[in-house]
Amino acid sequence: MEELRKKARELLTSGAVKVIIGYGPGSGKRVRAVFVRKPEQADLLICDDRCLQNLAVYLTKPEVKALGKAAVVARLPTLRAILQLAAENQLTDGQVVALGISPEGKMTELSQFKAIEEFLAGFSFELSAEEKATLEKLDQMTPEQRWQFWQEQFAKCVRCYGCRASCPLCYCEKCLAECNQPQWIPAASHQIGNLDWHIIRAMHLANRCVNCGDCSRACPVGIPLHLLNQKLAEEVFKQFGARSGMKAAQEYALCNWKLEDRENFIK
C-alpha cells in the first residue's frame, strides 16, 4: 500500500498523470473509488481485499476523461478490461497508466498495453473451482429448473441498469435498451422486458466480459448476473478458444469465424 501511495505521489508530482483512480475509504467498512489529483492526497489510497470494483469503468466516463491522463489502480480484471477497451478502440496506448496489482497485492507500473499483456500472461484466466462448481450445478439442473431459477431471479430486476453502469465494457453512449423504433427491449421491468434485457446483455458481453463480477455486486436486488457472462465466456473459450481482454489487438470471436467451427444442431 505504501508502495502504491509512493508511486501515486511520484506520478502526480512529476505530472506524468493528472489523476490517480484508486480506492479510498468509504462508508463504514466499505471502500470507494477516489480520484486523487494532488500528491498530498495520495495517502487516501487503499489497496486491500475489499477493493474489488473494476475501476476501468471510469476510463470511458467523459467527466473523468476531462481530468486528464489517468493512472488506475488495477487488479487483473481491470487490466483485462483496459486491454479489451483498447481492442475496441476506446483507449489508445499511453493514454492510461495501470498500477497493476497482483493477486498477492504487489504493485507494478504498466504504462504500455504491451506491458499489461505481458503482466497478464503470467496469470491464468480460468474460473475458480468454486465458480466452476456453481456453473456446473446450474448445468446439471433440468431446463425447467433452470427456467424456474432464472425467472425468480429476473422477477426481482427493477431495471436500474446497475449491471450496465458498473460494467467497464458497457460504454455505449446509447445502449440498445434505450433504442426505440424499434423497441427491441421493452423498457418496462416486467418478465419479458427483464428476460430480453439480460439475454441481450449477456450476448453483447460474450467474449468481451472480463469476469470482474461488478454486475452482480452492483445489482441492488442480488441477481447473480455474472453467471450468465461466465457461462458464455466458458462457451466462447470451449468453442473458439478465445478469452477476452488478453491483448490490445484482440480478435473478437463473434466477428470472426472458422470453417471448422463445430455445432451439432444445424441440420
Binding site: V158, R159, Y161, A187, A188, A218, P220, V221
Partner: protein, 338 residues
C-alpha cells in the same frame, strides 16, 4: 393522533393474517430471497423474514407498482375499445418501517398535486399499513435528520413496537387501522403501561435540515461541489428504484397487432438519457448535473412545492449504491459548508 393502544401477542400475528385474508385482502410482507428482502404476497406470517433493518425495495410498489397498466386497448376495424385497469385488491402491507410509512404522503403529494391520478389514489385508498417500528438502525439511517423517527406514526394505520416480552405494542392510528382491529378484536388485548421509546433504535440527528434547505439554492451553481461528489457515480438507477419517495415514471406503449397496453414504469433521473430530447440535445448532459438534480429535487424543490421533503432518511440509496454514493455524507457536507 392515536385512537387506541393495544397489545398484539406475537403468536396472534398469524391469526391476524388469517382474518385479513378472509376479508379479501392480500398481505404484503418482507420475505427473504437470498440476502435480499422484498415485500411479497405471503400466505402465512411464518414466511416473513425474521430480522432485518430495512427491506431491499421499499413498499412503494404497492401503491406505485414497478410496471403498471394504465389501460389496455383493442382495435376493431376503425374503432378502438379501451379497457381500464380493474379495481386494485385491498392490500395490507405488514412490517414496513416508519420511514417507509412516511413516504406514502410524499408520493400522494405528487400524484394528487394538480392532476388527481385515480389509479394511484385508488391503490392508496385500498392499502393499509401495519408498520413495525425500528429496534435497530445502521450508519445509513438518518430518519431523525429529516423529520422522522424509529417509532414515528406518520403514514401508518397501525404501528407495532416489539416490547420485552416479544409481543407487540399496537398503536391504532387511523380508521383503516381500526377497521383491521375490528376484523379480529379478540387478538388485541389491553395494552400494558409500557413506554415504547426504550425499545426503539437510537438514530442521532446527523445534520441540520434547516441549514441544508437554506444553503441548497445557492449551492446550485457550485459546479465543483456537484462534480466532486458525483465523480464516482456510475449513473445507474439503483438509488431511485430502492427509494420509497422517488416518483419519476416513464410511459411505454406496448402493442401486439390490434391490441396493446399503456404502461407506467419506474424511471430514474440518474439515467443519462432521462432528459435527452429527440433532437439529441440533453439539458443535463453530465452526471454531476443529474446528481445535483437528485439532491435539489428531494431537498429543495420538493420542499418548496409539496411542503414535504422528498426523502425519509431510510438510507436505502446509500446502502445499495454500487459506487458508495453516501447521500447522508454529501448532505452533511452541504449543510456544514461555509
Amino acid at each position: 393522533m392515536i385512537i387506541e393502544k393495544k397489545l398484539l401477542k406475537q403468536d396472534s400475528v398469524e391469526k391476524l393474517f388469517a382474518k385479513l385474508k378472509a376479508d379479501g385482502r392480500r398481505i404484503l410482507a418482507p420475505k427473504a430471497q437470498g440476502d435480499e428482502i422484498f415485500f411479497e404476497q405471503v400466505a402465512s406470517a411464518s414466511e416473513m423474514a425474521k430480522d432485518y433493518i430495512q427491506t431491499t425495495l421499499s413498499p412503494k410498489g404497492a401503491v406505485f407498482p414497478r410496471v403498471e397498466a394504465l389501460f389496455r386497448y383493442q382495435m376493431e376495424g376503425k374503432d378502438v375499445k379501451i379497457e381500464n385497469n380493474s379495481e386494485p385488491q385491498p392490500t395490507v402491507i405488514f412490517g414496513l418501517r416508519p420511514c417507509d410509512a412516511a413516504s406514502f404522503a410524499i408520493l400522494n403529494s405528487v400524484f394528487s398535486w394538480d392532476y388527481q391520478d385515480s389509479q394511484f389514489k385508488s391503490r392508496l385508498a385500498q392499502t393499509a399499513a401495519i408498520t413495525v417500528s425500528c429496534s435497530r438502525a445502521d450508519e445509513y439511517c438518518f430518519c431523525t435528520s429529516v423529520g422522522g423517527s424509529p417509532g414515528d406514526t406518520k403514514g401508518s394505520d397501525i404501528l407495532l413496537t416489539r416490547i420485552g416480552s416479544g409481543d407487540y405494542l399496537a398503536e391504532i392510528l387511523t380508521e383503516k387501522g381500526k377497521a383491521m382491529v375490528t376484523l379480529a378484536p379478540e387478538l388485541f388485548a389491553e395494552a400494558p403501561s409500557e413506554d415504547k421509546e426504550k425499545y426503539l433504535a437510537k438514530v442521532p440527528v446527523k445534520f441540520d435540515l434547516k441549514k441544508l434547505t437554506e444553503k441548497l439554492p445557492e449551492a446550485f451553481n457550485n459546479n465543483e461541489l456537484w462534480m466532486e461528489q458525483s465523480l464516482r457515480c456510475l449513473g445507474c438507477g439503483a438509488c431511485a428504484f430502492v427509494c420509497p419517495a422517488c416518483v419519476c415514471f416513464d410511459i411505454q406503449d406496448e402493442s401486439k397487432r390490434e391490441s396493446g397496453v399503456r404502461l407506467r414504469c419506474w424511471d430514474s433521473c440518474g439515467f443519462s438519457l432521462f432528459t435527452a430530447h429527440t433532437s439529441g440535445h440533453n439539458p443535463r448532459p453530465v452526471q454531476s448535473q443529474r446528481w445535483r438534480q437528485r439532491v435539489m429535487h428531494k431537498f429543495s424543490y420538493f420542499n418548496d412545492r409539496q411542503k414535504y421533503l422528498g426523502c425519509v432518511g431510510c438510507g436505502r440509496c446509500s446502502r445499495k449504491c454500487p459506487a458508495d454514493m453516501n447521500l447522508l455524507e454529501h448532505l452533511k457536507a452541504i449543510a456544514e459548508a461555509r
